[in-house]
Amino acid sequence: MIDTLEASRKARAVLDEIERAVVGKRDALTLVLSAILAGGHVLLEDFPGLGKTLAARSFAQTLGLDFRRAQFTPDLLPADLTGSFIYDQGQGSFEFRAGPLFTGLLLADEINRTPPKTQAALLEAMQERQVTVEGETFRLDPPFHVLATANPVEYEGTYPLPEAQLDRFLLRVGFGYPDAAEEWEVLRRRLERQQEEQTLSPVVTRDELLAIQAAVERVTVDPDIGRYCVALAAATRSHHHTLVGSSPRGGLALMLVARGYAVIAGRDFVVPEDVKAVAVPALAHRVTIRPELWMTEISGRTVVETVLGQVPAPTARDRV
């Protein structure tokens, strides 16, 4: 068992190591790590070439996890992910050949390019942390995390994830374009490296990651903070731009990720600032905007930002 300070030190070391490969995205990386420490899965949604795959691979390397990458194509079948029974002629019996789901960290690349049937198979495994093939159930050993990527601009030949499936991702994070200095730093490091491959050192082992996740479970969440998470999720439901607001799972996600965020900050308690920091990536993808506003700049993000500016934060007066 490790304490919060040690967990925080290791988490920061992981981020420092990843920043050797992914330049200038500390905030986004902190959010992704918070979700992993909270035991969840992350959807990385951004334009091509912004380092989503690199980030996923970097997390796998530094967290000491087995890494598999599945390229989601239109002809991908559920069995290609879960694995299937193959007849062994020598033994005269069927044996199970595990698919890429049986790993520590799975990169589901371009998840919206595969049909809903295959998406559902992955998302079921993410939720249940087990896979059933031919009536036989196989458990996915912890830690099991999925980092899925999606491209938000290309809609031709894609199958956008329905809201119910988006809800299963603890966070949706975008990296955004780097500024000029950061972009040059990417180029400079490539020149310095003299090779395409970027290899990072493992910072923690699989067992240490489990210990950090256990430390996150011990983080104190004041009842007022919990009520604040509930109020934020509920406020997205009553917002006038919203068709369907966040489910209660959104409020739960908010609290869980806030705990991971608190541990990275070196605290064994959650403060309102943690909740606000993770609110947009934790809630925005769970909000469906009214159809008449689709062509405007209004989005799940703007709804959550508005709600953050309206819902009263827990104060000292609640206690005194």
Partner: protein
Amino acid sequence: MGTTPPTPRGLTPVALGAAVLVLCALVAATFDGPRWSERDRVTDRSSASEDDERDQPEDEAAAPEDEAAAPEDDEPWLPWVPPADLLLLLPVAAVFIVALVVAARLRVVRRRRTLTRRAAVRASPHHDEPAPDETVEDGLLGAIDAGATAIGEGSPRNAIVAAWVRLEQAVVGDHFPHRPEETPSELVERAVASYRLDVEAISRLAALYREARFSAHPVTEEHRDEAADCLRRLLATITTTRLGGTRAP
């Protein structure tokens, strides 16, 4: 953020004023109505009398009297004075014009203030709040002083939370509105922009408050001492800057 259609706020007072004027005109028309009706009635009556002349010659004596009386009723009493309904309209129109001028003036002032604020935002990182006045800072000084005195009372956890509550209540005022959605960090950021405060001390005090308020682990005498030190530094900074007249870094 949003794409809420712009509301023609500037047109609202004009439309209202126009509506008031139309209403006044209608009222004036109503005042005029009975007179016109009377005149019509008299005219009708006179034409009827003419008919009667033919039919009933015995009423001849009465008819000329009526005809003579009708023009006398239409004559204004004081011909050079405008009609009463027009006199009624004049103050209403005057009030409307004054209201329009005041609204336009307010709009210009508000616009100028917005532009000034935007310019200040671009020019300075500490942009949100105007400079505090002496009376507000007196209240803040008093609250910090009271907090520093009372910090030794009760459990360290409660003492730190109480000190923060005092500080929070003292900074909130006319030029520093209470924002319920604000976290302690956001309050600190705003307070630092608005008051002459030791940034490090108030940030540390906010961190101690968060720990006392939201954690379950023990809050010790060391935390209390640290909070007391922060309050003393805040007190010293405000006193010094008020004497020197400069903002703390």
